[in-house]
């Protein structure tokens, strides 16, 4: 049952992606209303699937890479839907929908079935830590989206060019303000994600910090975003600089999430010694 719901979710995310791209390139107003709606339907089905898995296993399924991917996509889409409600940034959906589609598709292709949950992970530290970390990532994914749009808009304005896309882009001021809003939401979430992870490790394994690759990459990202936040608050780090910084930060997050667990070892890669 859950697997069929996940398959349906992938399909609907694909339809939503198509609809967002139509909005971006064809630019009909109706697409800007219908696309987030399709994505919302996908989110509801996705939620149902996750709930079914949860009740079946009796525990949040987050231990395997595919489960994490699926959950991460769910958090991201949910965050986007909330943001869309408040700020009407349909153009961001053009990043989120395809990303969610790809993540859920990879999750599906990575196999199904119930894996045994290692006893060390059968603790509510897991969903707490993972949810906070993933929420932080999701918000940074949105920040990444607005930053890319910012750079497009900025490039067009500086070079006095216009493409067919520019009407779908918000003003630089709006994009920059959202970058800031996402940063002040994302940074504490990420911080709490790191703190809960560290406490969990301290409680279970006795070391709060074990210098495993995931921790190092998180620390790097944390310092990047921290520096940006500091720069923004004390003044001067705006616009293009902030956008570039955000993009670099998210690139670290994304590349680690996609590659890190395969290349490196450690608890995050499922090795619990």
């Amino acid at each position: 049952m859950a697997i069929h719901l996940l398959q349906l979710t992938v399909l609907i995310y694909l339809v939503a992606t198509g609809s967002f791209f139509l909005y971006l390139f064809v630019g009909k107003d109706s697409y800007s209303r219908i696309s987030p709606f399709i994505l919302l339907i996908g989110l509801i089905i996705h939620s149902t699937a996750l709930a079914v898995i949860f009740f079946h296993a009796g525990f949040p399924a987050l231990t395997q890479f595919r489960e994490a991917l699926s959950f991460k996509a769910w958090v991201m889409v949910g965050t986007y839907i909330l943001v869309q409600f408040k700020y009407r940034l349909t153009v961001l959906g053009c990043f989120i929908a395809p990303l969610a589609f790809l993540m859920c598709l990879s999750a599906l292709t990575l196999g199904a079935g119930d894996a045994e949950i290692p006893p060390a992970l059968k603790t509510y530290w897991l969903p707490l830590h993972v949810t906070l970390a993933f929420l932080g990532n999701a918000v940074f994914a949105l920040a990444f989206g607005v930053s890319v749009v910012y750079l497009f808009q900025e490039y067009e304005l500086k070079n006095k060019k216009r493409t067919i896309l520019h009407k779908r882009f918000s003003s630089l001021e709006t994009l920059d303000r959202l970058n800031y809003i996402f940063l002040i939401w994302g940074f504490p979430l990420m911080t709490f994600g790191i703190i809960t992870g560290s406490l969990w490790a301290g409680v279970y394994w006795g070391d709060y910090w074990s210098w495993e690759p995931r921790q190092i990459s998180s620390a790097i990202t944390w310092f990047l975003y921290g520096a940006l936040l500091h720069g923004r608050i004390t003044g001067g780090w705006r616009g293009k600089k902030a956008a570039l910084w955000t993009i670099v930060g998210f690139a670290v997050v994304l590349s680690y999430f996609l590659l890190g667990d395969f290349v490196f070892t450690g608890r995050h890669a499922g090795r619990f010694e």
């Binding site: 500086k158 006095k160 630089l172 001021e173 001067g236 600089k241």
Partner: protein, 430 residues
């Protein structure tokens, strides 16, 4: 012989503002200046034009020879001119077709700082009326100015030139909206009191901007404009200090140097904590250093850039000046057809004279021989009859010539040949 139309002057294209100010004709002394102009031996008709962007002397003279020297001397004699040689080197001169074309282009606002901006037409009319009152306008300048007014009207109605300033300012507003979220709560600073600057400010206000600062070299003008927009006037010495308060900065002066350099803008942005600024440069030459656009969070658009964008908005608009110049070329030709038609006066006078000579000869011959017995009353009747005959014979060809100016040259040529009219230099009456 054909008269010469001459224009001597300088404009924002050729001379810096200080020089234009030196040559400019003081409004209160305009009558005297016109009288001085008309007293020049080579000048038969004259109009003076003196705006902040141009000073021009338009004349009609019987000969092309000395008029240029006379007018240059006339301009150099302006009390305020400091260096007559330097001034002379910056003057442009146009004669005949070129002069007429130039006046038409000026009237149609093709030569203006902001092409399509209609202010110049009103100024042209005012200076024409002033010259008419002093009595320095004859029938050629009368005709020329009235033609130039209707050329301006044609260009406005038949081309898109007139829409240009409006579309330029709506493009500026669109750009501001791509940079800033909402224009409410934003501040605009206007440097200079150019008309196009006013227009852009009006558009910005319509789109929500409430706070406007206006500065101008002449503070009174800034105060006056500020009144219109409920804006704050700022002294020209002080505007740089207020720059950091503005999100939108409009330059609309004809200053020969940059008003704002890149270093200064970088400094202001630092003070503003890098909050974006939008610079709109409506000046010719440029008021703002183009390097400003290289600075992060500063966006600089020159009026030419705005024009490019508005051309993209309305495809095909770029042919509008070409279209306007075609209209003008047409009108120049038709003006010279008219001017040439004045040449029929000497031809007709000569032709009438030739007929009269024949009549007189034949009358004398007959009255002295076969008709020598006629009474005085009969002689008078004969005189009247032959005279009426001549007039009747000449009547329809002359009317035809006058009503068909386009074929007139051919007619006149034919008449001369058929009736063996000598083409002597004759004094014209106009």
């Amino acid at each position: 012989m054909k008269k010469t139309v001459t224009i001597v002057g300088l404009s924002h294209h050729t001379a810096p503002v200080e020089l234009r100010e030196q040559v400019a004709f003081d409004h209160s002394a305009l009558r005297e200046s016109l009288k001085r102009l008309i007293s020049l031996p080579s000048v038969e008709e004259g109009v003076l034009l003196s705006t902040c962007n141009r000073v021009e002397v338009l004349t009609v003279s019987p000969t092309e020879k000395s008029v240029l020297q006379d007018i240059k001397g006339f301009l150099a004699a302006q009390e305020s001119v400091e260096d007559p040689e330097r001034m002379e080197s910056q003057l442009y001169t146009y004669s005949n077709e070129d002069a007429v074309r130039h006046l038409f282009r000026v009237a149609a606002s093709l030569d203006s700082m902001v092409v399509g901006e209609p202010q110049i037409l009103g100024q042209l009319k005012a200076y024409y009326v002033a010259a008419q009152e002093v009595g320095t306008v004859g029938n050629i300048l009368h005709r020329l100015f009235h033609r130039s007014f209707s050329v301006a009207k044609r260009v406005r109605s038949e081309t898109g030139i007139a829409i240009r300033p409006v579309s330029v300012s709506s493009v500026a507003v669109d750009l501001a909206k791509r940079i800033f979220d909402k224009l409410d709560g934003k501040t605009v600073m206007v440097i200079g009191a150019g008309r196009i600057g006013e227009l852009v400010v009006r558009h910005l206000i319509q789109n929500g901007i409430r706070s406007v600062m206006i500065t101008n070299r002449t503070f009174e003008r800034a105060v006056q404009l500020a009144g219109e927009f409920h804006a704050s006037p700022i002294r020209f010495e002080d505007y740089q200090r207020y720059l950091k308060l503005a999100e939108v900065v409009i330059g609309s002066t004809d200053s020969p140097q940059f008003l704002l350099g890149a270093d200064m803008v970088a400094e202001v942005l630092k003070e503003r904590k890098q909050k974006a600024m939008f610079f709109i440069d409506l000046g010719v030459p440029r008021n703002f250093d183009p390097a400003i656009n290289e600075i992060d969070n500063a966006y600089l658009y020159h009026i030419d850039d705005l024009d490019e964008v508005s051309k993209m908005n309305l495809k095909g608009r770029n042919t509008e000046t070409v279209k306007a110049d075609e209209i003008i070329a047409e009108e120049v030709t038709s003006f010279f057809l008219w001017l040439d038609s004045l040449d029929h006066v000497p031809t007709i006078v000569a032709l009438k004279q030739r007929f009269e000579d024949i009549r007189q000869q034949e009358l004398i011959k007959s009255l002295n021989t076969t008709l020598k017995d006629l009474s005085d009353r009969e002689r008078q009747a004969l005189e009247d009859m032959t005279s009426a005959m001549m007039n009747k014979i000449l009547h329809s060809p002359l009317v035809r010539i006058r009503t068909r100016p386009e074929e007139e040259a051919i007619y006149l040529d034919t008449l001369r040949k058929l009736f063996d009219v000598d083409d002597k230099d004759e004094d014209e009456e106009n």
